[in-house]
């Protein structure tokens, strides 16, 4: 049987579906059009009407609902086993999943069992129409280079994509998705047990804000983040940081933007005292508007910025705060 169709693995979040799934379906629509194939959402567990409707809104034409015993849907070994059994039967051409912690654990387990390639953290996916191959572009060497990777002779072609990389767009012509229910009996392998799940006390998630004000080593001292914090509060945003500042212990890792931190794409990103190491740029260049404040006019950060202010941030930021106060609102 020929390998056909595009799968998007559905990851759950709280009671609903993780937004990255809708982003992947949105992108998946253009891929499946280029291939003339179908877009299929792969759902583990009990499919609720609400989930089905949401998947349809983003273009799923079919839903593969794979039975899994209650409470087992975070067991990566079992999920991988089930996914592989479904692949054997359905033969998808492409499998996509979010490059979340779950996706980055599950997808390698599936790829190994299927003996196929997997490309992590793609920032662009395209179809080579002549060869009907998925072209997968991703950053490497800390964002210093971009590489386009293909997996031409082995199927399925598998890729993960970070949240916020693709735009979420509802389809104009949703269809009633056909639900195919599957039940497999995999051999239960030894797995680990989750003893406790602790929700993060700190509700700070810099990937979920429209405005980020970030500080780097150029702040010169840990106290500099008080000023950064004040500006971000005034703007209604959150505080970000470069790896340099985090490594110096000025602020916690949860704030770190970049290769070993978070990838963000807010509407506004203000970089203060950040020189613009590629690792940092890799994590923020998807922002809609970037304003950089730096003393050094040759700093790399200006190459990524839309607007640049050359000067001492300790002069400029207090003046901005004062100005905002006197003019009433941000």
């Amino acid at each position: 049987m020929e390998y056909k169709n595009i799968w998007v693995l559905v990851e759950k979040q709280n009671e609903g579906i993780h937004p990255v799934v809708f982003e992947l379906l949105s992108k998946g629509r253009s891929l499946k059009e280029a291939l003339g194939e179908r877009l299929i959402a792969v759902f583990f567990g009990k499919l609720k009407d609400r989930d089905k409707a949401e998947l349809e809104r983003y273009g799923a034409e079919e839903i593969l609902a794979i039975h899994i015993d209650e409470g087992m849907d975070e067991n990566h070994e079992l999920l991988a086993e089930l996914a592989c059994m479904a692949v054997e039967e359905e033969r998808p051409q492409i499998i996509l999943a979010g490059a979340t912690i779950n996706g980055r654990t599950l997808m390698p387990l599936i790829a190994v069992q299927l003996k196929t390639g997997l490309t992590a953290d793609c920032t662009e996916l395209r179809i080579d129409k002549d060869r009907e191959i998925l072209l997968q572009t991703r950053p490497a060497f800390g964002g210093n280079i971009m590489a386009t990777i293909e997996c031409a002779d082995s199927k399925p072609q598998m890729a993960t994509v970070r949240p916020h990389v693709f735009k979420m767009k509802k389809t104009r012509d949703p269809v009633k998705a056909k639900v195919k229910s599957k039940r497999y009996s995999p051999v239960m392998r030894r797995t680990v047990r989750v003893l406790e799940t602790i929700a993060q006390e700190e509700k700070m998630d810099i990937t979920r804000t429209d405005i980020i004000v970030s500080g780097g080593r150029g702040l010169g001292k840990a106290d500099g983040f008080e000023l950064i914090g004040e500006l971000s509060r005034k703007l209604g945003g959150m505080v970000g940081a470069s790896r340099g500042a985090v490594d110096l212990g000025w602020i916690s890792h949860a704030h770190q933007v970049g290769q070993t931190g978070r990838t963000v794409s807010p509407k506004l990103y203000v970089a203060c005292g950040i020189s613009g190491a590629v690792q940092h740029l890799a994590g923020m260049k998807g922002s809609e508007t970037i304003i950089a404040i730096n003393e050094d006019p040759d700093a790399t950060i200006f190459e990524a910025a839309d607007y640049g202010i050359v000067g001492d941030l300790y002069d400029i930021i207090p003046r901005i705060l004062k100005e905002m106060e006197s003019s009433g609102r941000a």
């Binding site: 980055r104 654990t105 790829a111 490309t119 800390g142 997996c151 602790i198």
Partner: protein, 258 residues
């Protein structure tokens, strides 16, 4: 406790530069280092061993020069070191790399705890750890931040999840991928360094680990890099000129326009 730590030698990506003419990486003069997340894995191994006793073996795949990072591991107290080096191993993607490592791990045998850095800073895939677990058919716990408890039969670790953390219990053998720890890798002692001089680094080739060479290196890699290019930079930055007052005012007007 028999502990394995897999290490990778990587170029220091903080110091990598691009040749703007040819669009290639300038590797010359860029120092090679042990992947920082693998150092976190090694530090975790040293901590576990200090509680449970046992042995630590360090393993890497790479060019003969990678022996250096194994030597560093030995000077920190690892008990044995193996270097997978052979021309058939070259050009491997994550599937071929994880196959080769898993064959070596099977050959060496008997590990209870297998530790990997979550990802390497050159490739950034975070796939090799889970893929090795897949080849070996043992459970994997990814994104581990610390070890909470070790007993004869079980280990309890803390790992990151999307919105918090999870406490996970596993029986041996288990593979853990480790995120950057708060605790930096210790510095070797003089005594440790001297002791390590007598420990050999064993070299392993395809035959030594009973591997199928068609599944190693470039031949065993389903993925191919088709093109490499520089990330696009927005070179159209508009500099805001004027006095500090004017700059502040302009900043506010830009922000309000968004």
């Amino acid at each position: 406790m028999n502990i394995l730590v897999c290490l990778k030698q990587v170029p220091d990506t903080q110091k990598v530069k691009i040749d703007p003419e040819r669009n290639t990486l300038i590797r010359k003069g860029v120092p090679s280092i042990t992947n920082p997340l693998d150092e976190s894995a090694l530090e975790l191994a040293l901590e576990v061993r200090s509680i449970t006793g046992g042995k630590i073996t360090v393993l890497t795949m790479g060019i003969p020069d990678s022996e250096e990072i194994l030597r560093d591991g030995l000077s920190l107290g690892a008990d044995g070191a193996y270097l997978l080096t052979h021309r058939d191993f070259a050009g491997a993607d994550t599937l071929a790399t994880s196959y080769t490592l898993s064959m070596a791990i099977k050959e060496l045998g008997g590990f209870d705890l297998l530790l990997f850095g979550k990802q390497a800073i050159d490739g950034d895939t975070a796939q090799v750890g889970p893929e090795v677990a897949g080849h070996l058919g043992i459970p994997v716990v990814t994104f581990v931040t610390n070890v909470q408890k070790t007993a004869k039969d079980i280990i309890v670790v803390e790992r990151m999840i999307e919105n918090g953390k999870e406490i996970v219990e596993a029986e041996y053998p288990v593979l853990l991928t480790v995120v950057k720890a708060a605790q930096r890798l210790r510095i070797p002692t003089l005594e440790g360094m001297i002791k390590s001089f007598d420990i050999p680094v064993h070299r392993l080739g395809v035959q030594d680990i009973g591997a199928d060479s068609s599944r190693c290196g470039l031949k065993g890699s389903p993925t191919r890099v088709k093109k490499i290019f520089s990330p696009k930079m927005n070179s159209k930055v508009k500099f805001i000129e004027g006095s500090i007052d004017e700059k502040a005012k302009k900043f506010i007007s830009i922000v309000r326009g968004i």
